[in-house]
Symmetry: C2
Subunit: 325 residues, 2 copies
């Protein structure tokens, strides 16, 4: 019931932070999303790793209840990314990207993975995201089952180089999770509220069911949801110590989908709450290098962070105590 299929990169990152250089750090969108969502649901990961991927990493994931059957081991080296962050951690530059085994990756979903009620298509080439969707659809023809909600992330690279494939993907999913820059680029307009409206219109023309739902991540400035119930907002938490923003967006997406899977509910109300869970898990993620803090979150830590969020936005629920003069 709480199954969540996650497709995306599993990687080793080299992180040049103001606080030091950290190499061979376990990372990748699927890794962050899986670890985050494992606090709420039962993730199933589809990805690829190389010969250099130690069994201890797979063991760590399994110990968290993460199904790693879909993580293929290929001949070669694991996907690697090297980046350097600015002093205030507000920006970063990519120094090196080595696709390695990811270059030839063709996702193959184990049969049970196609039956998850919730699916997160992490940021990979839209052709691969479409391929995963096709596998799920094909299996569904036999089982007469389809996911309650499919979400996808993407990036500027695919928006500019693969607009058609990406468009075909977005038309098929239920929830798009992108950041503010990507939303502006995808819509071709700077006003974020208008950009969100344009994206929802553009990719909902051929839909028979409800229009595309859109989450716009704004990093330290929180996240916006645009759906038929109107805009919704949840803030990021003002942390006094931020060590590494890598993977925060993926942890956020993992938290959102993890909560929906946990509740087995894709309603507008559940999605609003899910965004707080995404924000809470994103806030843990940035507190230490790589997945270190995220992987150490206890249920008590998690509950305390959610309670901090509740206080953070609690205005008492009564903005209009008496008529305006």
């Amino acid at each position: 019931m709480k199954d969540l299929t996650i497709v995306g990169s599993v990687a080793f990152d080299d992180l040049e932070m103001p606080s030091g250089i950290f190499e061979n750090v376990l990372g990748g969108a699927a890794t962050y999303a899986a670890i985050a969502s494992s606090l709420l649901a039962s993730p199933r990961v589809v990805g690829v790793v190389g010969n250099d991927f130690g069994d201890e990493h797979l063991a760590m994931l399994k110990k968290r209840g993460i199904d790693t059957e879909g993580i293929e081991r290929a001949n070669g080296r694991t996907f690697r990314w090297r980046g350097r962050y600015s002093q205030d951690l507000a920006s970063r530059e990519t120094l090196d990207t080595q696709l390695n085994v990811f270059a030839e990756f063709k996702p193959k979903l184990p049969a049970k993975y196609t039956e998850s009620n919730f699916v997160l298509l992490g940021n990979i080439h839209p052709a691969l995201q479409l391929d995963v969707l096709a596998q799920i659809q094909k299996a569904g023809e036999t089982t007469k089952k389809k996911p309650k909600l499919v979400a996808a992330d993407t990036m500027n690279l695919w928006i500019s180089t693969e607009p058609k494939l990406l468009g075909a993907l977005i038309e098929k999913i239920d929830l798009l999770i992108i950041n503010d820059e990507e939303a502006r680029e995808l819509a071709g307009m700077t006003n974020l509220a208008r950009a969100a409206g344009e994206i929802r219109r553009k990719f909902s023309a051929h839909r028979k069911d409800s229009p595309l739902r859109l989450i716009v991540k704004k990093g330290e400035h929180g996240a916006l949801l645009f759906d038929d119930a109107g805009p919704f907002f949840a803030p990021a938490y003002p942390l006094e110590e931020v060590r590494d923003p890598t993977g925060a967006g993926d942890s956020f997406a993992g938290g959102v989908l993890g909560y929906l899977a946990k509740m087995d509910d894709a309603s507008p109300k559940a999605l609003r709450r899910a965004i707080f869970h995404g924000s809470a898990l994103g806030s843990f993620c940035v507190e230490d290098i790589g997945t270190k803090r995220l992987a150490a979150v206890s249920p008590a830590d998690y509950r305390a962070r959610l309670e901090a969020f509740v206080r953070f936005v609690d205005y008492g629920g009564d903005l209009w105590p008496s008529p305006v003069n």
Copy 2:
């Protein structure tokens, strides 16, 4: 009971916007704050204008219930500012500032102004802000009355050129309302949560009553409150049409103080709600050039905007429906 004394600039602005050039637009921090707060409370404005300040502007303010007795008419021209906004309205440059009658301005509070329970010291030279405070304190020695809450705004210029005077002011007020850049500069650190803590500590050492409260404005990204009840956040509304950000921060401050004055309540709970009122009035402000939209807000408009804010942040109040697995 709902009296609010506001000190600050009354000005004419020349605005070079992507949508056109607008000259001789009524502006100034006190003007925006007074018009915004007049929807909630009874503002009393202290400022100075020149011979070129038409009676129609004073008449407009009076018609809104704003006490203009404290607006002195001096020989010369009214304060003028000319600015140019970037295409996306996210940044602006000052093209010209003419202090004019403001250069020699010495605020003189009419006696009744010193008895207001709430005071907003808009962004002017900290020596003038201190002078206003001294007038209020002196009058209080006779009347045995003191304000329930004094708030002040400032700007980067005073943080860098008048740190001692500004420090002396901040030690005396109850609530500092500044933007994120100013908070970082005032604290000398980039992490906003830490900067807020540092500001509160630094200026609360000699206080006998409660520590300084701090609101950090983040423009389109909302506003943070730091007080003894813990951090609090209220978002800005995602408007599809933003025409002119000038005065949004002053309208926000006017809304915050206006709500506190209306409720005659300076409690942490009232302050949290007040920030939503500030955000609502800031959101109206940016919808048209100068004070145009703000001055046209009806009670029905206002209530509808507050209700939109309520929906915008409504997650259903139950983030923790069952134990984490």
